[in-house]
Symmetry: C2
Subunit: 319 residues, 2 copies
C-alpha cells in the first residue's frame, strides 16, 4: 500500500502559482492582494449522510470543491486557495485518481490552488476549506437585506432534490429527465461569476444548499426581516415544473437542498443591473418576491393565498 | 434532538473579536495585519485511527486544536483564526459540551477566534483548519536548513508514544508515570511561543507529530541535505529515559508520534539565541546533532557507531 506521502505527492501536489508556499510544509503561506480581505469557509461531506458510499469519485471530487466554491460565490468572493482533508477506508488508487480528477479539474477551472491537506485512514469523509478574496468591506452578507428589497434566485431549483428521489426510488424519472436531474445533483455549478458580478448591486446573498425556504430564512433571521415570495415566480427545473401538484415535488422546489444556486436581495431600482449581472455570468436570474419589515416567510400560491408548509429544509441533526 | 443550527449556536458561537465577520454567514471575513502573510494548515483526526472512539471529549477538543496550533508553531506563525468541521454519530450534548470546553479553552488561551465550521452526522471525525499571521517572508520553512546548522528539539520526547503503549496494554506503567505520559498524549502543548521566538534565529523547523526521525527526515528531504544526531543528546521524557535498552521504548523516543515538540535547525553561532528563545517561551531546548551536506540521517549510539533503525515513524497508510 502506498504511503501517505506518496499519495499526497501523486494526486494532490500541483504547483501553487498563487501561493507564496504551497503543499509540503507544516502550513501554506498566502496573502490577499492589497485592498482585499479573505473570505474563508469549510464544508464536510460524509459518506452515508451527504452521498452514497459507492458514489462516483469523479463526481465527489467535483462536488466537495463545488459546495465550498458556492459558499464563496454567496459572499461575492473570488476563490483562490483550497485545503483538503480526506479520510479513506483504504488507499484505493483508482478511487483517488478519479477523485483528484474531479477536484483538481474544478479547481483549475476557477484558478484555485490546493495549498494544504491531510490524508488519513478512516470512514470516507471529505473536508474542504476554501479561501478567496473580496474587496474589503464589500462582501455580500446574510445580514444586509433591507425592507423593500426584491428577492432573486439564479438558475432553476428542485432538480438536485428530485434527482436524489429518483436515486432512492421514491420518484423514478424517465432517462432524459433523470440524467438532467442527476447532473445537477452530482455536478453542481458554483455561481462564482454571478457572486462577483453582484458586488455593489445586491445587498444580501446566500447559496441554496439546504433549500430555498431554509436558506432565505437564514437571510431573514440575520437581517431581522421577513419576506413574501410568489410560487409562480420561483424558477423550477423542467422535470420539476410539470409535477408541482405532487407535494413531494413542490417540496423539492422549495425545500430541496443541493441546488447551489444563489438567493439574493437587491433594491427595486436595480433590477436591470441584476439582469446584467446574470447575463455577464451566463445564468438566468428570477425575481421571486420581496423583503418586508414584518418577520415571517410567506409563499403565495397562484390564487394569492399563502401555502401551508411543513418544514423549511434540510438539517443534519433534526431530521 | 437539537438542530444543527442550535448546536452550532450553543457551543461554538463565541464573539470573534479578531475577525471582520465570524460564524454565521457563508464564509468568515478576515485580513492579516499590514506586513504579515497568512499561514494556513488543516489536520483531520478520526476515531479509531488517531484516538479511541470512547476518548474523553475534553481531551479531544484540546488535541484537535493543539495539533493544528503546532503546525503554525513550526512556521513561526501567530495563530489567529480556526475553522472546525465535525462529524458526529449523534447530537450528543454532553459530549459536545465537553469537546467545546477543550477546544474553546485552548483557543482562548492563544487568542484564536473560531470563525467557521460545519457540523454533520457521520462517523466521529474532527477536521480543523487553522490560520495565523507571520511576518512576510520570514516563516520557518522545512526547506531552509543549511549544511553545518545544528539540529535542536524542544522539550522531551517519547512520553506520548509510551503513554499510548500503556493504554493498549503493550507497556503497562506505574500510576505516576502513566499519568505523566497520558497528559502528553492527550493534552500536548503546542510550542507557539517558541516558534515565534525562533523567527530570525532558526533556519528550518517542523513539529514532531510523526516521530523525530520521520519529521527531521522531511526537513532533510525538503532541504536536500542529511544529518547526524547523537542518541545521548536526544531529550527523553523521564518514563522513557530509564528504559532505552528496550527497543520499543527507544522507538517511542525516536519514532514515536504525538509529542508536538519542535525540531529545528540554527547556525552554530546562534546557540545562545536559541537558548534565549527557549527561556522566553518557557520550554527547554536541546542541541542533538548537525546538518550535513551528504544525504541520509544517522543516529549515533553512545559508542559513536550508527544505530540500525527499522522505519522512521508513523504513516497512516503504509502501516
Amino acid at each position: 500500500m502506498a504511503s501517505e506521502f506518496d499519495l499526497i505527492a501523486r494526486y494532490f501536489t500541483h504547483p501553487a502559482a498563487g501561493a507564496r508556499l504551497g503543499v509540503g510544509d507544516d502550513a501554506a503561506l498566502i496573502a490577499p492582494a492589497p485592498g482585499m480581505e479573505l473570505a474563508v469557509s469549510t464544508d464536510m461531506l460524509v459518506a452515508g449522510t451527504h452521498f452514497l458510499p459507492d458514489a462516483d469519485p469523479l463526481f465527489l471530487g467535483h462536488k466537495a470543491l463545488a459546495v465550498n466554491l458556492s459558499d464563496l460565490a454567496a459572499m461575492g468572493a473570488q476563490p483562490r486557495w483550497a485545503l483538503l482533508a480526506l479520510a479513506l477506508p483504504a488507499a484505493d488508487e483508482p478511487w483517488l485518481a478519479a477523485f483528484s480528477q474531479g477536484f483538481m479539474g474544478l479547481a483549475a477551472r476557477y484558478g484555485v490552488d490546493l495549498v494544504g491537506g491531510d490524508t488519513t485512514r478512516g470512514p470516507l469523509n471529505l473536508s474542504v476549506t476554501i479561501l478567496g478574496e473580496v474587496e474589503a468591506g464589500r462582501a455580500l452578507r446574510r445580514d444586509a437585506a433591507r425592507a423593500g428589497d426584491e428577492v432573486w434566485v439564479s438558475g432553476e431549483l428542485g432538480a438536485a432534490a428530485l434527482g436524489l428521489r429518483h436515486l432512492t426510488g421514491a420518484h423514478p424519472l424517465g432517462e432524459a429527465e433523470a440524467a438532467a436531474c442527476l447532473e445537477r445533483l452530482h455536478r453542481p455549478t458554483p455561481r462564482v461569476e454571478l457572486g462577483r458580478a453582484l458586488l455593489g448591486v445586491a445587498h444580501a446573498a446566500i447559496d441554496i444548499s439546504d433549500g430555498l425556504l431554509a436558506d432565505l430564512g437564514h437571510v431573514l433571521d440575520a437581517s431581522g426581516l421577513g419576506a413574501e415570495i410568489e410560487l409562480a415566480r420561483v424558477p423550477a427545473a423542467p422535470a420539476v415544473a410539470g409535477r408541482l401538484d405532487d407535494r413531494q415535488v413542490l417540496r423539492c422546489l422549495l425545500a430541496g437542498g443541493d441546488d447551489y444556486e444563489l438567493c439574493f436581495t437587491a433594491p427595486p431600482g436595480r433590477a436591470d443591473a441584476v439582469r446584467a449581472a446574470g447575463e455577464a455570468a451566463g445564468v438566468g436570474v428570477a425575481r421571486i418576491g420581496r423583503i418586508r419589515a414584518e418577520p415571517g416567510l410567506a409563499v403565495l400560491g397562484a390564487d394569492g393565498r399563502p401555502l401551508v408548509l411543513e418544514g423549511r429544509g434540510y438539517d443534519h441533526f433534526s431530521a
